[in-house]
């Protein structure tokens, strides 16, 4: 009935196993369950297919798969291990499968796999048998038999094959004489070849040419993108600007009118015992907030963390670690004071003694 419909993978496997079991099935202990296998295998495979399950009487299926499974069906891990052990036991004795010990005669399922597997070991070489990487590699190297070979074949060839790992065979061969091409002198000619090789790779073929063009285009796009990040027009005020004549700044006054546009206070005050006009940057040296000038308290006070600065910019309260910074201030040709925001002067570095950092009154 199974042949009438399309065979499932399970069914194909079951059929293959059945044939194998029949081929190897002449040994006495395994013959009975092996014969039972053909009947048992289809029901197992049909279990997922409801149509086939209808056709096959389900009443007899449950008991059967359990018993023949070891011989014809898949082997469990335990059974495989048992088989391996039996194989190991059988080899030294040189005996056939029938000689395999039967530890528990009262349990019929247990002894069966052993003989079956042991026979397989003998019968297998013709059918296919286990293949390991070493044997395949060895065969490939020899070129004798393309494709997989069995363990037994590999074992037979191993003795003659020097490439397999037999310890006594490992004798260091004599070093071959270097050919003239491999001599160090010859290396000098190599770069020229390499360079030509590079050109060939880049432009020699249509594919290379295409990729090169792609890389070039990508690079140009990246450069263009980098250019795009910089605006065409800067609306920032110029870094150099005139703030008025020195006489515009009364002694002791903080001029705040440049704060909004330029971020500068022009202060006319005493620093280190001498009167000077300085351009103070309106950025707190703690975390960069904009402090406020408190006329009543005569101090700059930052609203973020409470840093306080004297009129000359020296820090005295709060967390600011450094005095406010000064911009360069010089007298322009027309007699006005000119502030240059590109130059900064730090008091803690002793830069406020620089003649550019103040205008002496």
């Amino acid at each position: 009935m199974a042949e009438q419909k399309k065979l499932s993978v399970q069914e194909i496997l079951a059929l293959a196993r059945k044939q194998k079991a029949e081929a190897a099935g002449e040994a006495a202990p395994a013959s009975e369950p092996a014969a039972a296998a053909p009947e048992a295998a289809p029901p197992v495979a049909e279990a997922p297919a409801p149509v086939a399950a209808e056709a096959a009487p389900p009443a007899e299926t449950p008991p059967k798969p359990a018993a023949p499974k070891p011989a014809g069906g898949k082997m469990s891990v335990a059974e495989m291990l048992a088989a391996a052990r039996a194989q190991g036991a059988a080899k030294p004795a040189g005996a056939a499968a029938a000689a395999a010990p039967v530890p528990k005669p009262e349990a019929p399922a247990a002894p069966k796999p052993k003989p079956a597997a042991a026979e397989k070991n003998e019968a297998a070489p013709k059918v296919g048998g286990p293949k390991d990487t070493a044997s395949i590699l060895a065969a490939a190297r020899k070129g004798a038999k393309p494709g997989p070979i069995t363990k037994a074949e590999a074992a037979a060839k191993e003795k003659a094959d020097p490439t397999t790992d037999e310890k006594p065979a490992r004798v260091a061969p004599p070093m071959p004489v270097k050919p003239a091409a491999a001599m160090p002198k010859a290396a000098k000619g190599a770069p020229a070849e390499d360079r030509r090789g590079f050109l060939t790779v880049m432009f020699g073929s249509m594919l290379g040419l295409g990729y090169s063009a792609l890389a070039l285009a990508g690079g140009l796009w990246t450069l263009g993108l980098a250019r795009f990040m910089y605006p065409n027009i800067l609306t920032e005020p110029p870094s150099q600007f005139k703030v008025g004549f020195p006489s515009d700044f009364a002694p002791g006054k903080v001029e705040e009118k440049f704060k909004a546009q330029f971020g500068v206070w022009i202060v006319n005050t005493e620093y280190n015992g001498h009167l000077e006009i300085a351009a103070i940057r309106t950025v707190c040296t703690h975390l960069g907030c904009t402090p406020n000038w408190l006329e009543a308290e005569q101090k700059f006070k930052c609203p973020c963390h409470g840093s306080g600065f004297y009129k000359d910019g020296i820090n005295f309260e709060g967390p600011a670690p450094r005095p406010l910074e000064r911009y360069a201030i010089t007298l322009a040709d027309d007699g006005q004071l000119q502030v240059d925001k590109s130059k900064l002067f730090f008091e803690e570095m002793g830069q406020w003694s620089d003649p550019q950092s103040f205008y002496s009154v």
Partner: protein, 448 residues
């Protein structure tokens, strides 16, 4: 500004009246629930046994009497002298030290204040104090800001959860002292995701949505004027959850308080599972089995985070000055805060000489040596704090810890603890002796 005080009271009278009504209702609902469970006697007053139901009925009745007065614009208020005392007490030093003392009190007497009647009484007191305090225009302006209302709610929420956890821990500790398993062990009944958890989540979702709706309708969005690079709002406050960080920045250099210390906090929190050798307390509330962890957490979380958030939200005013809760936020408040570096204290104050300064024209190497020499007191002090203290602790207070943790784990733990404690230490030093930096090397942007 606000005009007269009576105008202000008229402005808030409706809300305040409903607030007192809410307090009355709250107590009566509690009384109702207690009555359903069967009244229990609390105490005896002149031969009459006062039951719990009766007590909370009376408290609710008192609030009900206050409510109409509040609604008519004459609510009970704090007197000026009380406000003055509260203003004085909420100075930074008293606030920090006081909150530490309060935490110690709550820890030692946790068996007492977690009792439901006491906790309920404390809640009533705090809400009553809030009702009395909002009659002050300055207090109302700070607490009633749309930004700050949720923070007040969070403070109460935090109080509730602290009570809940402590309450459960106290019960478990009592049980385990009697040899019983923790209460969570006896409540190991299987709870299903559907419907138990999903229903709970759905109810929470509905309640949360309702709350958000009310919030969105009742409170204005805290929008400010358009941003300007030259005008910083005064005071400029971080989001509430970062106010602890902003407060840290007041005492330390930006790189330290803004980068190094937060990283240490994060890595320290990650290190906790590897430093913790106490296996007790898995899956149940307990305090007595994990005293050390509990105290460290309370100091780190409450003292160094929550108290700083409260301080930053309610007590920091214009120019980042301190203001008492009933104080007017005067942008021209004058505070003497002439901060001095430790090196200035040492060379100028103690030795009476000028600061060591490299002679003019010397190379950068020479200047560097002079800077090191100038800051040597601070450097030595800091190194002693971080290098000498751990072995001393290992030999004295934390002897058992050292034996259990081994050298490396103990050193990491003790250094994390010392760095944590250095924050309040520095704060108190700033407030008391105006210390600015222990190590101050502005030449290399390095201050500590």
């Amino acid at each position: 500004m606000h005009g007269s005080h009576a105008d202000f009271l008229a402005r808030i009278q409706l809300g305040l009246g409903f607030f007192y009504l809410l307090l009355a209702a709250m107590n009566w609902v509690a009384a109702l629930l207690l009555w359903r469970d069967g009244p229990k006697p609390y105490f005896k007053l002149g031969g009459i046994t006062v039951t719990n139901v009766f007590a909370w009925l009376i408290v609710g009745g008192l609030f009900l009497i206050v409510a109409p007065f509040a609604m008519m614009g004459s609510p009970p208020e704090f007197s000026e002298s009380v406000k003055h005392v509260i203003n004085e007490l909420s100075g930074p030093v008293t606030l920090t030290v006081g909150s530490l003392v309060a935490m110690a009190f709550l820890f030692v007497f946790r068996g007492w204040w977690t009792k439901p009647p006491i906790a309920w009484l404390l809640l009533n007191f705090s809400l009553l104090a809030m009702g009395l305090a909002v009659t002050d225009a300055n207090f109302f302006e700070i607490v009633g800001k749309p930004d700050n209302v949720p923070i007040v709610g969070l403070v109460y929420l935090l109080g509730f959860f602290t009570w809940l956890a402590t309450y459960k821990a106290v019960i478990n500790d009592d049980r385990m002292a009697q040899g019983l398993p923790p209460i969570e062990k006896t409540e190991d009944e299987k709870v299903l995701v559907w419907p138990d958890l999903v229903y709970t989540e759905m109810i929470c979702m509905v309640a949360m949505t309702a709350l958000m709706l009310v919030w969105a309708l009742a409170l204005q969005a805290p929008l400010e004027e358009p941003a300007s690079s030259v005008k910083t709002p005064n005071p400029s406050k971080a989001p509430w959850y970062f106010l602890g960080l902003q407060e840290m920045l007041v005492y330390y250099d930006p790189w330290y308080a803004g980068v190094v210390l937060p990283s240490i906090v994060v890595f320290g929190l990650m290190a906790i599972p590897f430093l913790d050798f106490n296996k007790a307390g898995n899956g149940y509330y307990t305090i007595s089995q994990r005293k050390f962890s509990y105290i460290v957490f309370q100091i780190g979380f409450f003292e160094l985070w929550i108290v700083l958030i409260i301080l930053g939200t309610f007590l920091r005013g214009p120019n980042w000055n301190f203001f008492g809760p009933f104080e007017y936020w005067d942008a021209h408040k004058v505070l003497a805060q002439n901060n001095v570096d430790l090196s200035q204290y040492f060379w100028g104050g103690m030795l009476g000489q000028g600061m060591p300064k490299a002679p003019a024209g010397s190379g950068p190497g020479m200047e560097f040596l002079y800077i090191l020499w100038r800051e040597s007191p601070g450097i030595i002090l800091t190194l002693a704090y971080l290098v000498l203290l751990p072995p001393i602790l290992a030999a004295t207070v934390f002897r058992g810890f050292f034996a259990k943790m081994g050298l490396i784990r103990f050193m990491i733990m003790s250094n994390l603890l010392l760095l944590m404690i250095s924050l309040p230490l520095k704060m108190v030093l700033r407030w008391t002796v105006n210390l600015k930096y222990i190590i101050s090397i502005p030449e290399y942007f390095l201050n500590f």
